[in-house]
């Protein structure tokens, strides 16, 4: 069974101020990512051997609880793929702004961060693709919308990297069996390839139009 993701749309470089920006749209979930850097860093946060990476996830409404789980998850993922040692004593800031939430917000945020880093020209070891699957009693659904994910028993967010197609980060919620996880990985692996293709196509399109 071929996995089915919702429509992916992306616009690179849609803002003038940041060094790189991407507006990532996965179905009706939209995340705007900004990347600033590598730039100067204050002394207290300076690291002599590599760049400091700051990730901020901003929810739509500021009175909501700050999603530190998301920030930590995305930071650990990005720290493994960015060549931070190439820019010592600098800072790279990634800001992710939620614009619309219709399920799979974390996955969309990870993917948009990858796209914005590509746009900013930050050296990376590989690309990343994040896929959310939600598990209900009878079936497993890839890339669910908000309604489906609320009805499900549990969800698992897998982040793949493109060089060896390995998993670099997993987080899950709710009740999952071992078989469920196995199936989710299988589906996610296929879906991640679709996402890499999408990155390649969109990047090509961007530079062909601009040139």
């Amino acid at each position: 069974m071929a996995p089915k993701l919702r429509d992916l749309i992306i616009t690179y470089n849609n803002l003038a101020n940041p060094d790189g920006s991407a507006l990532f749209c996965q179905g009706n979930t939209i995340v705007q990512a900004y990347v600033f850097g590598p730039v100067d860093v204050s002394n207290s946060k300076e690291r002599s051997e590599k760049a400091s990476l700051f990730v901020t996830f901003k929810p739509k409404n500021s009175y909501e609880i700050r999603k530190e789980l998301y920030e930590n998850y995305i930071r650990t993922v990005l720290e493994t793929i960015i060549h931070l040692d190439m820019h010592p004593r600098t800072s790279i800031s990634v800001i992710l702004q939620e614009m619309q939430d219709d399920g799979c917000l974390l996955s969309a945020a990870v993917n948009s961060a990858c796209c914005a880093l590509l746009d900013a020209g930050i050296p990376m070891k590989c690309m990343i693709a994040s896929v959310t699957s939600c598990i209900s009693v009878d079936a497993i659904q890839l890339d669910p919308n908000k309604e489906a994910s609320q009805k499900s028993d549990g969800s698992i967010v897998l982040t793949f990297e493109s060089s060896k197609n390995g998993i670099i980060s997993v987080t899950s919620e709710g009740e999952l069996t071992f078989d469920n996880i196995k199936e989710a990985i299988k589906l996610g692996c296929l879906a991640s390839k679709e996402i890499y293709d999408f990155y390649h196509k969109s990047m090509k399109k961007r530079f062909l139009i601009n040139s």
């Binding site: 849609n14 803002l15 009706n28 901003k58 409404n61 619309q100």
Partner: protein, 416 residues
């Protein structure tokens, strides 16, 4: 959160903006009283909108909470406005407060929103509207863009209906009962003007213009020709006439904006009521509309472009170059012309000395070429030349020690 240093504007750009404003011209091809292109898009939820004014892009989201009212205004709902400038990274806390206060003054204090209609039980439960204005990209004129976004969101927002039965409130979902829009009594929009010397001003300034301007004026006004707020800042001294003129322009702008916002909100609500129509930002991104996707500059028509050189931009020909003196300020710094002028007496003396020396050197060299066979003479002359050279060298070193500025004057060897 890491903050960036603001972009510095080179003085040539600054001068360019100043001189262009005097001629009623601007870098993006507008005249001083033109505004940039405005576009508004609405999100999936009620009360979320994105406004693009040129490259300035602002998102506004509204949600509600049920809260207790303030003790002094027990039968009024609450309107909380927050402005978030983190994405533009360069603004100081003071700037955020200034814009936030500006918007609050304009919308809250002008009482454009009927807050009493947001009361559920007097003194106990009211609706509290949580308004978040998120600046995504700053290219000047934030007060206007923020106020458009806020009013567009407010006029788009719909709250769920509520019923009170025996001191218990029940909030009806959108499926049960029709959502209720807010009562907006008037639309007060902010408009900003920046001033350059001689009380020249431009509407809808870009970020560069805001950074180099002498001062700015923000006028909040509505369609009924009422001024809701006015705020002048900066070092420019503006006359009464200019303020009145700006107010007049602001009122005209407010008239346009009121109609525009009403129209787009109406269009979007119509779209929502038709079945099968796609709503939200996703179709806007797919069509790559100007609201969210691009920051393409509109093409400027180049008119009256002619090749002319200023008096300063003289192309140096060989004759001029030969008479031009080069000044060496440090071991690796050389200047041509009169940059970093020196008015000290000893420098002039020194210059004369050097010139004399070099003239003599030239003379000697000429003689050398002509009287090559005469060996002893030429040797003697060469010796004298060397001694003179060494003298010169000594002089320079002495001067070096004496002069605080370490100025040495040499003739350029390649121009000899």
């Amino acid at each position: 959160m890491q903050r960036l240093k603001p972009k510095s504007i080179p003085s040539c750009n600054k001068n360019f903006i100043f001189t262009a404003v005097k001629d009623d011209k601007r870098i993006d091809g507008r005249s001083s009283k033109d505004f940039r292109k405005l576009s508004i898009g609405f999100g999936l939820d009620y009360g979320s909108s994105v406004v693009s004014l040129g490259d300035t892009r602002v998102m506004c989201n509204i949600t509600y909470q049920i809260a207790e009212p303030k003790a002094v205004k027990s039968c009024e709902g609450l309107l909380n406005i927050r402005v978030d400038l983190t994405a533009s990274m360069i603004h100081t806390y003071e700037k955020v407060v200034e814009i936030m206060r500006m918007i609050e003054k304009n919308v809250k204090d002008s009482r454009c929103l009927d807050l009493e209609s947001l009361c559920i039980i007097s003194g106990e439960k009211v609706y509290a509207l949580e308004t978040d204005i998120i600046v995504m990209n700053d290219d000047g004129n934030l007060p206007e863009c923020c106020s458009i976004a806020l009013l567009a969101s407010l006029s788009h927002f719909k709250r769920p209906d509520v019923s009170v039965v025996e001191d218990k409130i029940k909030i009806h979902s959108f499926d049960e009962r029709h959502p209720i829009p807010l009562n907006i009594l008037h639309y007060p929009f902010c408009t900003s003007f920046t001033f350059f010397d001689n009380s020249k001003f431009v509407c809808d300034p870009t970020q560069a213009e805001e950074q180099v301007c002498d001062g700015y004026l923000i006028v909040g006004s509505n369609i009924y020709r009422e001024i809701t707020t006015i705020h002048i800042s900066g070092k420019s001294a503006i006359t009464k006439d200019v303020v009145l003129n700006c107010c007049q322009l602001a009122i005209e702008r407010s008239k346009f904006l009121t109609n525009f916002v009403k129209l787009v909100v109406e269009q979007d609500l119509k779209k929502r009521s038709t079945e099968g129509a796609e709503i939200g930002y996703a179709p806007l991104i797919r069509e790559s509309s100007s609201v969210l996707c691009s920051y393409k500059k509109e093409e400027i028509e180049l008119q009256e472009v002619q090749e002319n050189y200023d008096d300063d931009d003289v192309i140096i020909d060989l004759e001029v170059a030969q008479n031009t003196k080069m000044y060496r300020y440090a071991s690796d710094t050389v200047g041509i012309g009169e940059g970093r002028g020196q008015n000290w007496d000893f420098i002039d003396e020194f210059q004369e000395n050097v010139e004399n020396d070099e003239n003599e050197d030239m003379y000697i060299e000429d003689e050398e070429t002509t009287n090559n066979e005469d060996e002893p003479d030429s040797k003697a002359k060469q010796f004298s030349k060397r001694s003179k050279n060494s003298n010169k060298y000594q002089e320079i070193t002495v001067e070096d020690d004496l002069s605080e500025e370490e100025v040495q004057i040499l003739n350029p060897p390649e121009f000899k």
